[in-house]
């Protein structure tokens, strides 16, 4: 732990030296001030840090015993090799953590149609609050990233989707494996994840060795590591390699790199600060105002639970909350409901509200009053 200690100690003494030099003009020398540098280098984020000085960091007291004792407090235990394997599942751009396996575009499309399309739309078109996974050719759309509606609000904006924007394909594999399908994550095998990743490449028209990835394409670990995304070099500052932290520090040391302004307090503008071109700009139309619940600052008694009064759009609920499981099996109006209905509607309601061992989550995971949820059950069992 040598590095950490020397770093912290060096910082503290450098700050102490500054404090001694400037003490004459400080109003309260007991209050440690922030500093913009650590060991002579700018802070990583362009802000200040508050080194521990006289047992204080900024306005906060610290217990000096902690620094002396910390080395001896090992409260936990070392993880086992299997535990590390179970949790260390992240996938890095260089292939660290990427498992062996394979899957084709065709297989990916099949899984997509079964588990993803209800939210992300046909060919990843998105909609209804769910992100688009493709908008067309990734290489062409990457060129739209310089579109900026700054001077012309009517112009086309940039298109940011996987194919046009994401710098690394590893992100896609890792995210699908960990986070999708959204209602039941971490249920896809490595092969299924390869297949879905292949399908994502296909609908974004990404190339492998100069050829567009077609339906027959089979993705595996080796091929994945060869694919470069169109926008690989679209990001700043540099974060790769052994000098990454210095590159980031240098970037944030210059306020104009990130739209910030520095000024001495005594030199800030107080009078006639504005260009003549500045005008009052108003909200266009009604703006965004469909707030839930509606805006109010009234202090009155709440109306009785008014959830039940708001009728739900059963089809919308079905699409958002049920379709991912109830589209191939137990779909709306399907004959497969017969054995369930034989137990009587009250039993069906109750089981659906409480959830079942067989895989039905309580209320299907929907946040609805009992009354509204029953309307959705009516729809799903009868198909109308």
């Amino acid at each position: 732990m040598l590095k950490l200690n020397t770093k912290l100690i060096a910082t503290a003494s450098a700050a102490a030296a500054i404090a001694v030099l400037t003490v004459g003009c400080m109003q309260n020398s007991a209050e440690p001030k922030g500093t913009n540098t650590v060991n002579g280098k700018p802070t990583i984020d362009g802000g200040v840090i508050y080194p521990v000085e006289n047992d204080k960091t900024g306005p906060y007291y610290v217990n000096p015993q902690v620094a002396l004792d910390a080395k001896k407090i090992y409260n936990g235990r070392v993880p086992t090799a299997n535990e590390l394997k179970a949790w260390d599942k992240d996938v890095m751009p260089d292939g660290t953590g990427l498992p062996e396996g394979s899957g084709s575009v065709e297989e990916g499309e099949e899984i997509y149609e079964a588990k993803c399309v209800m939210c992300h739309g046909d060919f990843g078109s998105g909609g209804g609050g769910y992100p688009a996974l493709s908008k067309g050719n990734g290489y062409e759309l990457q060129k739209t990233l310089t579109n900026n509606r700054w001077h012309d609000p009517e112009a086309d904006g940039p298109t940011r989707v996987f194919g046009s924007y994401w710098p690394q394909i590893s992100t896609m594999f890792w995210y699908i494996k960990d986070g999708m399908p959204h209602p039941k994550s971490k249920t896809l095998s490595d092969d299924e994840t390869y297949a879905l990743t292949a399908y994502m490449l296909n609908i974004n028209e990404i190339e492998y060795e100069g050829e567009e990835i077609d339906d027959e394409f089979v993705l595996n670990r080796e091929k994945m590591l060869k694919i470069k995304m169109p926008n690989e070099n679209g990001f700043i500052p540099n974060i790769d390699g052994p000098n990454a932290l210095d590159d980031v520090r240098t970037f944030y040391a210059n306020p104009t790199n990130f739209g910030a302004i520095k000024v001495k307090a005594s030199e800030r503008c107080m009078k006639d600060c504005q260009e003549k071109s500045v005008v009052v700009t108003r909200i266009q139309g009604a703006g965004i105002s469909n707030f839930l619940p509606p805006m109010s600052d009234v202090r009155d008694l709440p109306k009785e639970d008014n959830k039940a009064e708001v009728k739900v759009d059963v089809k919308e609920v079905y699409n958002n909350a049920c379709a991912m499981c109830h589209s191939s099996y137990l779909a709306p109006g399907s004959d497969e409901w017969k054995p369930f209905l034989a137990e009587g509607m009250e039993t069906v309601y109750k089981k659906a509200i409480d959830g079942t061992e067989g895989g039905m989550p309580a209320k299907g995971g929907a946040d609805l009053s009992d009354a509204n949820f029953k309307l959705v059950v009516d729809y799903i069992v009868h198909g109308k």
Partner: protein, 439 residues
Amino acid sequence: MDNKSQHDKTIDRREFFRKSAAASVAALAGTSVMSSDAMADDPAIMHHVPWGQVWGDPVTKNRYGVPSKYEHNVTRRNTKLLASGNFRASIAVTPIQESMGIITPNGLFFSRSHGGVAHVDPNEFRLMIHGLVEKPIVLTLEQLKRYPSVTRTHFIECPANGGQEWRGPQFNSVQFAKGFMSCAEWTGVYVKTILEDLGLKPEAQWMLAEGSDNSEMGRTVPVDKVLDDAMIVWGQNGEALRPEQGYPVRLLLPGWEGNLCVKWLKRLEFSTEPWYCKEETSKYTALQPSGKAIQHFYANEVNSTVTSPSPEIPWTNLKDGDIVEIEGLAWSGMGTITGVDLSFDGGNNYVKANLKGLVLPKSWTRWSYMHTYKKGERLLLTSRAMDDAGYIQPTIDQEVSIMGVESVYHRNAVETWEVTATGEVNHVQMRTPGGIKNA
């Protein structure tokens, strides 16, 4: 209360307001301070109030207290436009127009989740720290909490706070224009304290923080921050974290993007190279006019807003000559607020406003200005904050000339409320149409 007395009360009230209108005319004539028979008696004083004559609740009723039911409109709010279909990958916005001081109550704290709010069983909670450390570790919650704790007041802000308004104002609401943030007193342990123990290897540059929720939310953090003030927190305003804040444990990177403060934390891994998580590539990256996007955008820059008046809490009931406090918040993820200026003309001329209360690093800071209201006056209230890192809030033109209007994240230009002649308050922006051309 039965119907009859409710009815009586309405009549009493009407009578009261009629008479007091007359009385306020008298007040202008100079009799305001003394008691006066010319004024109506306020039934709220003259009657026994219903709650004064019956038993209240037994103290055993709310073992865990809840707000007065009259406060039911003070809630987080959502809008469909910023939500996935079923509100699992969504935000709940804090009513900062109602907030007092610099602490947000836990039930109103801004909340964003990427796969719904997880409910972690604290008995099954484990934290694993591994990678480029001499001695990796697995901790139970109880073991984690045995590390020496520190308590710090910090805001957490979503970097998309105000991000819908790069091209013009959209929300006639301070809750939605600026409420993607909250501030609390956090208790936990410095990550560097645990690292003293584990021994960070010198080649380590980055830390992955990963959550245990449905989305397994992960982010990459540079070790500089880890070794400065990064905390693993379990306490929020004197109690356990709320599930919406990552119960039982979240990462807290004071002043940095809320998304980096990973909730439902399960794993920290150290490495030489960064990870490229979904939330630091697809999202939380700021596209500039050059077509390059800032990745790894960390600190939320110096910012401020007027909270009172606001579109939600206008000045429609003020009388000519009323003395009223203009209040607001200022905050900086880069350091400590050193001053706030207030403009009445949309940012052309400024006066110095006054800071009040505790002024803490990377925390909400309250500011205030006393104003004598002139009936019919039209104002453009604009606040502008500075911090001890040397930054000042840019004008919209200044910020847009560098960042363009497509970056979504990290917008901190000054914001303006228009007070109309009738005291209504509207959200407007002061900017050059189409930006400054040759900037």
